[in-house]
């Protein structure tokens, strides 16, 4: 117990640093993947056939392969095949490569959720906007967007909670997120070696984070209950 109390502050500090990286990846992915997902969604409904086919193919590839492989390809492919390691070996490069992989991957999942949300809005809303002389963007932003958000919030919440946990995959390209930080103590780090408990301790971080997100998203759902 004494040893544990000695180790605790060191471990917690190290896990905090790791979790900051986890959160950074989470937020950057969210900020990037939401608009990109909307773009892909519009593109996959485009009237121009080649764009539609390419995007469908792209969504199929991204959703059909493991995120872990995508991380490896995005980080190592430029150096291995093009002989130009664009990301560099440092922490920043690894983070940027991870963010790119996560944004692309999640944008594809989001785009399908958006598509479902748009489809579920009755055509009457579109037509009512049109006969009142609204432009297409006015109809989307002033009429359909909020209704779409209300409908996609439950599947979106699911995907967002999954994203928090998925960030741990980035350690395959040595992004030092919270699980990496926890695992370091098994082997030995900062004078603590052979400690298993920090790895399991990381679960608490995910639990707290996802607990807060669940409250937040639940609150948002409640807020949108004022209309049907």
């Amino acid at each position: 117990m004494d040893i544990f109390m000695e180790q605790l502050p060191i471990v917690v500090h190290s896990l905090n640093v790791g979790f900051l990286q986890t959160l950074k990846l989470f937020f950057v992915t969210l900020i990037g993947a939401l608009p990109l997902g909307l773009l892909i969604c519009f593109g996959s409904k485009s009237k121009i056939t080649p764009i539609r086919i390419i995007l469908k193919l792209f969504i199929w590839i991204i959703r059909g392969t493991p995120l872990m492989i995508q991380l490896l390809i995005i980080y190592y492919f430029p150096g291995l095949v093009l002989h130009n390691p664009i990301w560099g070996g440092g922490e920043v490069g690894r983070f940027v490569a991870s963010a790119v992989a996560f944004i692309i991957n999640y944008a594809c999942y989001f785009s399908e959720i958006f598509r479902g949300g748009i489809i579920s809005i009755p055509v009457g809303q579109d037509e009512a906007g049109k006969v009142l002389g609204m432009t297409r963007s006015q109809i989307f932003f002033k009429i359909k967007l909020l209704q779409m958000i209300k409908r996609i919030l439950p599947p979106m919440s699911n995907e967002i909670l999954t994203l928090v946990k998925d960030t741990s995959l980035a350690r395959i390209i040595a992004l030092q997120e919270v699980i990496w930080a926890g695992q370091a103590f098994m082997k030995g780090s900062q004078g603590i070696s052979g400690a298993i408990w920090p790895l399991f301790f990381t679960a608490i971080y995910y639990l707290i984070c996802n607990g807060l997100l669940t409250l937040l998203l639940g609150g948002l759902e409640k807020k949108l209950e004022y209309f049907r």
């Binding site: 080649p50 980080y75 190592y76 492919f77 070996g89 040595a174 070696s193």
Partner: protein, 286 residues
């Protein structure tokens, strides 16, 4: 319109085949240990013909990117967060001799060959055992340190397993691709591969494996009193191994480092550094 579709499909196919080529090369490098010499020579002539000197490239960049893991006493962080250890100190000195700075980057150990090959790091310098696999995947420096692989068992059973013969009935956990895995194979042991030496220890602690094989340097740091593995201990030492530094195929950094090792061994600085971290007994004459 149709032409565009065909063109885009072809472009994608090309991407995939390129990716496939790339990974083929790597896996060939990893598995093709028998034709090691051939591979090395052919690769080096190829690189030479391109006429790229890695030393010159690094001096131009101003940094030597060193791939490491957190591994006491070879590479670990001091209280201020600077990388120290026998390997880290030597890497700093080597970089200085080239007139550049060493930049330490933590890598996922399984991907060390990928990291090198893709150019995200310049060398692997982390108490790396010179196995056939390692030597086929990269060009390595002369060995600078001895290391043994040891068997880890629960303390209360240690007395029963003091010889190689006595451990043959046990189920082992070993790190995938490690020197320990090679030893398990060579001695005809039953073993399961896990993804790190630390995980191999956890297997024994959890009772899911009877024993593990890990580096002796690591064993000294990770098991026994004051660790989470107070109930484990190490017994039999298997074949002795040597540590070396790995570079990209055909890199002229290999000979530069060998010269540096020789010089610092001769002037005594290497021994002094080794004494700082208590590894002087394992040092190999250059």
């Amino acid at each position: 319109m149709r032409k565009k579709i065909i063109a885009s499909i072809m472009a994608m196919t090309l991407c995939f085949s390129l990716a496939a080529c790339g990974s083929n090369n790597v896996s060939a490098d990893l598995s093709d240990s028998a034709s090691l010499d051939e591979a090395t020579t052919s690769e080096s002539t190829e690189s030479d013909s391109e006429g790229e000197s890695e030393v010159a490239k690094i001096q131009e960049a101003g940094t030597l990117v060193v791939g490491i893991t957190d591994f006491e006493p070879m590479d670990y962080k001091d209280d201020e967060g600077n990388w120290i250890g026998f390997d880290a100190d030597m890497a700093n000195a080597f970089a200085k001799s080239l007139g550049v700075e060493a930049q330490f980057v933590e890598i996922e150990w399984d991907n060390k060959a990928l990291e090198l090959e893709s150019g995200s790091i310049d060398c692997v310098w982390n108490g790396m055992t010179l196995t056939d696999e390692v030597k086929s995947a990269m060009d390595c420096s002369n060995a600078y340190c001895n290391n043994a692989q040891v068997v880890i068992v629960p303390k209360d059973k240690a007395d029963d397993y003091q010889t190689v013969e006595s451990v043959k009935e046990l189920n082992f956990a070993v790190e995938v691709g490690s020197a320990g895995a090679s030893e398990a194979e060579a001695n005809g042991l039953n073993y399961t591969e896990v993804n790190s030496q630390a995980n191999a220890l956890m297997e024994v602690a959890a009772g899911t494996s009877d024993a593990a094989i890990i580096d002796s340097l690591m064993a000294a740091a990770m098991v026994g009193e004051g660790t989470s593995y107070a109930d484990l201990t190490y017994t039999v030492g298997l074949n002795s191994e040597e540590y070396g530094v790995g570079f990209r195929k055909g890199s002229d950094l290999v000979s530069a480092l060998n010269d540096f090792f020789k010089a610092s061994y001769d002037d005594g600085t290497m021994l002094k550094t080794a004494e700082t971290y208590g590894v002087q007994a394992a040092l190999i004459e250059q």
